[in-house]
């Protein structure tokens, strides 16, 4: 098994955190894992993205030229990455702020209004966690409980309120797709 996922969005949307938490969760679940952020001058103030590879064997390249999944939180990210997605791959998009339709018809598309769901919970900054709920529901890469405890670890926050709101956000994303299916 080898699954590569690209996470992308505006800087500040918590894109790197999604990847980092997933990578940590996958490590905790016993997988080989790599996390590779885009770096350098070109990412300042623009889009941020990272690639996570999860495998039950050694990982050769942490780069995904044909990712199995892409998770996009804004429209520029959709346009940048949708053509790279492997045929039959899964495309997760934040339908709250992405108005454009994906051009791919050979992939599975999951539209999650993650910003709206997060806002409803009272914290728009948890849109990334909402997305992760949906993402793990479909991919099943890491069990939710392991992911949530990894997220607490990597966020380094001991504040109960922060942990609680993120648990709720994750659940909202996870439940959303259940209802939609």
């Amino acid at each position: 098994m080898m699954v590569k996922t690209i996470f992308s969005g505006f800087g500040g949307q918590g894109v790197l955190m999604m990847g980092y938490a997933l990578a940590h969760g996958a490590m905790s679940a016993g997988y080989h894992v790599t996390f590779l952020p885009a770096y350098g001058a070109e990412v300042r103030g623009g889009t941020a993205n990272c690639t996570v590879a999860v495998s039950d064997d050694e990982i050769a390249s942490p780069i995904a030229s044909k990712p199995d999944n892409i998770v996009v939180l804004n429209a520029p990210s959709l346009l940048t990455f949708q053509n790279r997605l492997a045929p039959g791959g899964a495309l997760f998009l934040n339908s709250s702020i992405i108005a454009v339709e994906p051009s791919r018809h050979d992939v599975r598309i999951f539209k999650i209004p993650s910003s709206e769901l997060a806002e409803k919970l009272g914290n728009p900054r948890t849109a990334n966690t909402v997305m992760m709920g949906a993402f793990l529901k479909i991919t099943g890469l890491v069990p939710p409980d392991i992911f949530l405890s990894s997220m607490e670890t990597v966020m380094g926050s001991k504040k109960k309120s922060v942990i609680e709101i993120n648990h709720k956000a994750f659940a909202a994303g996870y439940e959303f797709l259940k209802i939609a299916e």
Partner: protein, 358 residues
Amino acid sequence: MNKVLMQGNKIIGEAAIRAGCRFYAGYPITPQNEIPEYMSERLRQEEGGVFIQSESEVAAIHMVIGASAAGARAMTSSSSPGISLKQEGISSMAACELPAVIINMMRGGPGLGNISAAQGDYFQATKGGGHGDYRIIVLGPDSAQELADLTMEAFDLADRYRTPVMILADGMMGQMMEPVIFKTPKPRDYPESFIMKGAGAGKSKIIRGLILDPLDMEEHNWTLDRKYQVIAQNETRHELYKADDAELILVAYGTGARIAKGAIKRLRDLGLRAGLFRPITLWPFPTNELRDLAKKIENFLVFEMSTGKMVEDVRLAIQGRARIGFHGRPGGVVPTPVELANVVMRKYDRKEGIIDHY
């Protein structure tokens, strides 16, 4: 032992601290900025820890010289263009027989190049880099775990042979996060007598590389060379991967070796028994080990993220005993394992062997 998920650059920093590094001087340059950032924070917390953001790469390496002479485990880090600037001091340390660890997270070049992962600095690292008749130990890690292990070992090697040791990795290794377990480092074993700390009541000491009499300089050169021969004999490291039944061996190091491992899995799925020879010490290069392999295997393909540097060492090792092909992707391009597998299939004919026009 605890497995943690960490970024390559930070792994180097943490491994250095655990190995007892208490002095770091450096100048920011992408893609290794997390090393000075990490060291600034960690050295602040360590008793006797010194972090200096120097005015230049040149100043950094000379600060390291001072710290090393004064007895500290010292390190500097940079990426390709900055390493060029450090060469003056590296040559000086080789001359004065001072230990230190230098990290090069290679990027695309020549010139300013770019900030992607590349392997174009191989000659600079392994063939001297600076002026004069000297060698330095060069280690090429290919995983987060090796970044940690080899950084710790670099300090031991530097002390044991009183020589600069370079970790030659690249921007991708520096930026990538991967699980790592930090091993317990060996305690430091470095004779007091080498340390410059003032003469006390005794005889004063001189540390110098200036030897004006050619005969004396020659003797110093041979003394250094004898040391390098001992290093070559004792410290050569390499990894063999699926080589036992191989009909074709890929030769690659660092990130290139990771890609090659991925390619080998695909090639084996396609029925081609490929294996890997991965030099871990780039200097001393595992010449004899590679030559031995050429006694039973006829086809080698060198893969580098450059236009071809290590391939020359491979040719020197194999000395015409086998066919050697080459595939290179310079400029900061990291090819996929699939691409490399396709290249190998194209260049390898079961009847003819490696067909390469390089």
